[in-house]
């Protein structure tokens, strides 16, 4: 049975990085307007809606706020990767006839409300928390333990991790909206203070305000819309944790979600022209590249050196400057899909990857070394 093709027809990143004068709902609504206007649509055309990063039934409050009465709802909560997963969910819902036009939104004022996104405590009271929270895990710490083990197991160095931060900053210099745009060096990263060893301040993503929105519909319907559609080729979602207490911490969800994504999209690694990899921390990128199969386990350190992941390299990634330099309001998955869409539409000016036909997005959500999600999405130029 042939599957109906689904397209991204609206992709809007809110330009703000600091919005003490706005609410998170307002940022989401402004982004929704931007994404719908690209396609020549209005709120009245939306019959499917998804969001994440709001309260337990915040998806209903968002519907209330936007006065939506959709036929399909999704409030996936798997951390920062949620929006990547929601693109897959939306595509499935449209294919199955549950709805025709899905709006996905995100808005956050993490920076202006001074959330300690990566270095706060916090415990939801779920069963594992009693065995974790008492020991003071931070988000950074959870990722740092993966980095420490990776260094021990494979000889990966802080210099190699720093190369990722340096490359993202170079890309941010090409993005007028990026939060930090001045070039940095490997030495700058190593000289920045240690937040949670072996990760330095500049190994960590920024904290910003921001938001974005996506609109999806069938490729058939997309033909009648104003924007250039980008095709959803396939994807996969996975969860990793310590299970009953036994695991290799360097084996992450991307191994499972990535394999499924490549299979479903029918593309190979060589077909991928650019990647949008969730860069909460430098180690996140290195681990993801290995687990997606762009290199072998343990080879990530060498892989990210020598310009391969920069604009003009063999596998350019995070052309917007990533979470490490452009924006990170807490859940970056949304921006992975937006930038990939814009790259495939060739709208990215000085940071445009030439002749980009296939883009891979991978979101990581939660605490990489403790429990986390992975969501992989492959998009293609129409």
């Amino acid at each position: 049975m042939s599957r109906a093709e689904i397209a991204v027809v609206g992709a809007y990143e809110h330009p703000t990085r600091w919005a003490p004068d706005k609410t998170a709902y307002q940022i989401a609504a402004e982004a929704a307007r931007g994404a719908l206007e690209e396609a020549g649509l209005t709120f009245a055309d939306v019959d499917g809606y998804a969001c994440s990063g709001v309260g337990p039934i915040g998806v209903l409050s968002m519907c209330h706020h936007l006065d939506l009465q959709p036929d399909w709802l999704d409030s996936t909560a798997i951390g920062g990767s949620s929006f990547v997963a929601q693109v897959l969910n939306a595509a499935a819902a449209i294919r199955d006839g549950l709805c025709t036009t899905v709006l996905i939104t995100y808005g956050s004022t993490a920076a202006s409300e001074r959330f300690a996104v990566g270095t706060g405590g916090g415990s939801a009271g779920d069963p594992p928390d009693a065995f974790e929270g008492v020991y003071g895990p931070t988000v950074v710490g959870a990722y740092a333990m993966v980095a420490q083990r990776h260094m021990h197991q494979y000889g990966t160095t802080s210099e190699q991790l720093a190369e990722i931060a340096v490359t993202m900053r170079r890309h941010a210099g090409l993005n007028p909206h990026a939060k930090y745009r001045d070039p940095i060096t490997v030495e700058d990263v190593l000289a920045s203070r240690v937040i949670s060893s072996p990760l330095h301040l500049l190994d960590c993503c920024v904290i910003s305000d921001g938001g974005g929105a996506l609109v999806l519909t069938s490729a058939e319907r997309a033909k009648d819309l104003k924007s250039t559609p980008v095709r959803v080729l396939g994807g996969g979602v996975a969860a990793r944790h310590s299970g009953v207490g036994v695991r290799d911490i360097t084996d992450i969800a991307a191994r499972q979600s990535g394999k499924r994504a490549f299979e479903r999209a029918g593309v190979s690694h060589d077909d991928v022209d650019l990647c949008m990899i969730y860069d909460s921390f430098t180690i996140t990128v290195l681990s993801t590249l290995e687990n997606l199969g762009f290199c072998e386990a343990g080879e990530g350190g060498a892989f990210v050196q020598g310009g391969r992941i920069g604009l003009g390299g063999a596998l350019p990634l995070n052309l917007d400057g990533g979470g490490l330099s452009s924006n990170h309001p807490g859940m970056r998955g949304m921006f992975l899909v937006i930038e990939a869409t814009k790259q495939l539409r060739a709208e990215c000016g000085g940071r445009q990857v030439a002749n980009a036909e296939v883009a891979l997005c991978h979101g990581t959500g939660g605490f990489l070394g403790i429990q986390h999600s992975g969501a992989t999405l492959v998009l293609g130029r129409s």
Partner: protein
């Protein structure tokens, strides 16, 4: 009575975990073993994820293990932790083969290494809770 250290979370003891915490109070480290399929499991839970049996026993651990991975935490704004920076968060692999998230104590953060032999030590928090942490031991 030991200080409850306001702000630092105290583990919530529930029906699934109380066997673990009751053992800790006696300064014993016990983990679950499924009586049906013999699978060891940590953290404790009522049903074996491998065979779905509810029949479980609490195995006394040696308390010895090795550091599997760790991080020296230099920034945490949460009350109870910000006062104890830097502290070491770690996974310890017990001799029995399961990994536990914990802290490495009685050791300067800079001296902690992966593979380092460690042993359990309990911190009494009030009369009813003791928290297992790990400290270096002679190999």
């Amino acid at each position: 009575m030991a200080d409850r250290r306001p702000g630092k979370p105290v583990p919530r003891v529930d029906e699934e975990s109380k066997g673990f915490w009751e053992a800790c109070r006696r300064h014993e480290l016990r983990i679950q073993r499924c009586r049906s399929c013999s699978q060891l499991r940590f953290y404790p839970r009522a049903i074996c994820p491998q065979c779905m049996s509810s029949d479980v026993e609490w195995v006394l651990c040696s308390g010895r293990g090795e550091v599997y991975t760790f991080t020296a935490t230099h920034q945490n704004h949460s009350p109870g932790f910000r006062e104890s920076l830097p502290y070491v968060l770690a996974y310890v692999e017990l001799e029995e083969g399961v990994q536990m998230l914990t802290n490495i104590v009685d050791c300067p953060a800079d001296d902690v290494k992966i593979g380092m032999p460690v042993e359990v030590t309990f911190e009494d928090i009030g009369d009813d809770i003791a928290i297992p942490r790990f400290r270096p031991r002679a190999s």
